[in-house]
Amino acid sequence: MTMQLERIVATNFRKFRDPMVVEGLGSGLNVVIEPNETGKSTLLEALRAGLFVRHGTKNQLAQSFMPFGENVAPEVEIEFQIDGERWHVAKKFLKSPALEVRGPKGRTSGDAAEEQLQALLGFERSTSRDADLDSYGALGLLWVGQGDALSVRAPSEIVRNSVRSTLEAEVGSIMGGATHDAVRAAVDKQFADYWTPGGSIGGRQKSARDAAQTAREAADQATSDLAALDRSFAELAEKQARMKVLKRELADERDVQARADLVKSLETARAAALMLGQRKAERSAAQADADALSEFAERHKTAVTAKTEATDALADANAKRAKVEAEVEDAKEKEESARQALSSAREVRAAAKSALADARVLTSTATRHSAIADAKRRHEKLIELEAELVESRRIEAASIESQTMKSLESLERDVVTASAELSAGSTIIELIGEAPHITVDGDAFGDGPRTIVQDTRIGLGGGAELIIKPPRGTASAQAQLDDLNARLASELSQLGISNVSEARTRVDAARDAKANIATLDARIEAITQAVPAVDLGAGADTLRKFVASITESDTAAPATIPDIAELEKRLEDAEDGLATTDGIHQAALEALRKAEEKNRPLVTAETSARSTLASAEQQIATIEADPRFANMETGLFAAREKAAAADVAWQQAQENAGSLDPETIERQIEKIDKRAESARTQATELQLEVARLEATIETEGGKGLAEAAAGAEEEANAAQRLFERVTEEAATVKLLRGTLEHARLETSQTYVGPIARRAKRHIERLLPGCDLSFTEDLQLHSITRAGTEEGCSNLSRGTQEQLAVLTRLAFADMLLEKGRPVSLILDDPLAYSDDARLDLMSDILTEAAERMQVILLTCRERAFRHLSGTHIAIG
């Protein structure tokens, strides 16, 4: 349903005394471009006043319509169409206020006309003293005053209800309305009885819990007090029972009697113990006497036996020895003769040995002598060879190296070649005859031909000179020859020789000398071999040192050399003889040793027997000298009798002492005493305890603790049950409230969808790809771009303003679709938009104007003048 404003006339309104007329408004886009102070905002005010402000009101708002300082009646006249039906509204305020509405069904006036307008345009009667946009319904939202669109805000309750009711068909649900609100209020009130606003335990629930806790604590305390008293009772009963037992024990005479009996037996026991000690000592003494005497008699008997045995042994040893002595004597004689034979044999051998030694000394001296002589001879030869060797080495050393030799020979060849070349081209002069005054270059001419190789002055005497100039080639050949000769001469002089053939001779001599050196070395080595007989080592030096060390005495040779072999044969014979005699002597010695060995135990036995005999005799003598010996038999008998008697007496005493141990008895007495003492102490303590407990019971027992405890327990249980009931009640209310709230949110949410869809259509163009989130009261809450959510209030002013316009447009669209009268008025909108956004918004508004009437009021000519649509001026 479109609403089209056509004409507005305001008279005596605000600053317009004269009628302000706006007419010719079209169905689509209308642009009113006027400078500031022209009355654009007043136009909107007049519209609102004409339609929404009750004509009869005298409130502050109505007063404000009056031109400042003038007492005239503001009037507004509005003509508009809704769905092709024409309406005319004329309203007059303050002075004789009036309203007249002319519509398709005729004319109404006054309050009826007000109600007709309300029904037609969907607004409510305002109770506010000022302008109350919320009460103006959809047009309150869609007619946007200057600055009203600067932030996104929720539509009013009327608009929301309107939206909801228009959407009912679409979302298929109904809000609870008044019934819901009343039920919800009642449930909220009940909730507040049990819970804090934050949902924590509070109110009655808390009181019940506290009461239950307090009652439980009191009951526990009472129970604990009662238990303490009961313990006192139990303790008292137990103490009294023990006291009874104790008193019976104390009154018991048995311990007293037992103690008296024990004291008596203690005396008896002490006497018996004394006697026993005495008898024991006596018994020990008698026994000791008897034992001593018995041992004395035993000793004498042993000594007599020993004497007899020793005597027999001595006789036996003597008899055996007599026989063995003869064997020893015989052996001694045989050994004597063998020893003498051995001695002779030793002398013979010594003589033979000595003779052989002497002979060997002589032989050795002779050998040494000849060796020394030989060494001397070889030494002399050595000296000769060494001299020869020195000479050969010198010659070898003077040899010319083969390299040098080659060089010499090459030079010599070159010289010969050069000479030949020279002589081929040279001038040869010869002087025949004697002419001493003729000189060549100042020298005598000499014999024989002369080869001229350079300018040569032949002095002819008398100052005359014949100059011979050889051919030019000769001169160079001569120079080369000279050079070669000079180099040859230089090399030869370095070698210390005069010509090349001499060099060849030296090389040949050196080669021979080298061969000779090897020969000489071999010969020297041959004559300087080692001679062990005279401790001479190998080598020339060793030989020279040996010869130098020879003294004169070494050179004397012995006169004769005896026959060594003969002497050795003699020694061998003597050795054989000695061995034989030594064997004989050894046998004799063995025989003697055996004889003496047979004799030795006999001697020992004899000595031992003699010693034992002497000892036994000594002992017998000592014993028999003892005075006890005289009456030994009778004395021993008496002592034994005495010991037996003492033993009997001791046993008797033991029996007397019997089990009467004084210490045991003392301990028993002590035990009885302690028991009695302990019983008395305990009785005192118990008496004290009993008195204390009785006093406690006396005090506490009269307080009625048991009844109090029973009561407190029941109270605690009752309080607990109450608390449980209250808790259950609280849970019930909480669940109910939660369920109601959830249902409310869910229901609200069903209305948000259609709004969001419509808003998104527009906003997408501004912010491509964004997602919108609306609150349940249909306010755009946030937008999400590229995954980031931004609250509307955080967006830039320009964007906020644009979103505010676009969401309004969404509401307008929806209301339009649902057949509500809709028109959009924007007073000085998009003040913060940049050019691009402004263009885009202009496009969107132009498109919207195809669906509904859009009126743009602006002072910005450049920004809006290009818009198509109806351009209107305020007249």
Partner: protein, 370 residues
């Protein structure tokens, strides 16, 4: 002929703290008043001796006020009160009885020991006071050997359960059921069982004079006993109890059934002196359940001296009508539907959800009603 009153289990000082304070004091006072009732009954029937068979006091440590009330009430009646210690107020050194002995009025006799006592020419009382809270042997065993020279009548006085009660869970202080025959008693006055009970012709429990728990519907009684040598005892019961304690378990599936039960209950008692503890079970509609509960809470509960009920097992299934009433309510309908779904689920939440649904129903009804 020898005539006496047999009573027991006064349980003076019982706290009743589960009840609200005014009920509590009414019940407490009623127990003291029972003493006066018995005293008057003695006067009316010219009875000299009143035997209290144990549990005079509810605890071994009663409040001083309880003691004073008890003694002063007894003092003002011209009869002889014989008090036997029971398991609740057993004898012990320095205990309750030692303390009040010195304060006993002349007409009140305490029986602290199991000693026979000649009341009249040839009339012997054989008591069995309890010296422990729980005693494993039969406390009346000693009656067999008690010397009662020249006895014309032998009256036993004891506190404990008859062996047969074992099945009901009371096992201590057991008394042989044939004690009267065994010990040659003309009458055995017993305490401990709170209801009136005849064990055999010579053995009786008088029960408590004022009921103290929801166990039996009968009000408290005391027994007037007449004995003649060789004859059977003549036992007459008298109501002494002021209050009736009723326990009711109603199975109600609709409001009409509830109404019928309600009418019957009101018809059979005096609500002003009646205490009621009620359990409702059944399956009903939400509407009926709400109606029943409001009838209980807004009317019935106020008629009785004390009234408590549990409706946990009265299950309300919201009918299609119930839910239909909500379906037009948008949010409320959605909430009711959510809750109803949760009611169907098992678990502890189910019960809470049921209550919440019921509450929603009630609140909705209130709003609609207004």
């Amino acid at each position: 002929m020898f005539r006496f009153i047999h009573t027991a289990d006064w349980q003076l000082g019982k706290p009743f703290a589960w009840a609200e304070p005014e009920v509590r004091s009414a019940l407490t006072d009623a127990r003291f008043d029972a003493i006066d009732t018995i005293g008057q009954m003695a006067s009316e029937h010219s009875v000299t001796h009143i035997f209290v068979a144990g549990d005079v006091f509810d605890t071994e440590g009663p409040d001083p006020r309880t003691i004073v009330q008890a003694l002063s009430r007894m003092e003002r009646h011209p009869c002889k009160w014989w008090l036997l210690p029971g398991n609740h107020d057993f004898v012990r050194a320095g205990g309750l009885w030692d303390r009040i002995e010195a304060r006993l009025p002349g007409n009140v006799s305490l029986i602290p020991e199991a000693q026979p006592c000649e009341l009249d020419d040839g009339v012997w009382l054989l008591p069995a006071p309890l010296v422990h809270r729980h005693q494993n042997d039969d406390p009346t065993e000693s009656f067999d050997t008690m010397e009662t020279p020249g006895a014309i009548l032998r009256i036993g006085l004891a506190h404990g359960s008859i062996v047969d009660f074992g099945a009901q869970g009371e096992t201590k202080n057991q008394i042989a059921p044939d004690r009267a025959t065994r010990s040659g008693l003309d009458y055995l006055a017993l305490g401990d069982w709170h209801g009136l009970l005849q064990v055999n012709s010579r053995t009786w429990y008088s029960g408590t004079p004022e009921v103290d728990r929801f166990q039996r519907d009968e009000p408290g009684k005391a027994l007037l006993v007449e004995l003649e040598q060789g004859g059977e005892p003549i036992v007459t019961e008298f109501r002494t109890g002021k209050y009736q304690w009723l326990k009711r378990d109603w199975r109600v599936d609709d409001f009409a059934g509830f109404e019928a039960e309600r009418a019957q209950l009101l018809d059979e008692c005096d609500p002003a002196t009646t205490l009621v503890r009620m359990t409702l079970t059944g399956i009903t509609t939400l509407t009926d359940r709400v109606a029943m509960l409001s009838a209980l809470e807004d009317d019935l509960a106020h008629r009785f001296r004390y009234f408590s009920y549990s409706a946990t097992d009265l299950v309300a299934k919201p009918s299609n009508d119930d839910l239909a009433a909500f379906s037009a309510e948008g949010i409320l309908g959605a909430a009711a539907s959510t809750l109803n779904t949760r009611v169907q689920e098992d678990g502890p939440e189910s019960l809470i959800a049921r209550r919440a649904l019921e509450r929603l129903f009630v609140e909705h009804a209130k709003v609609i009603g207004s």
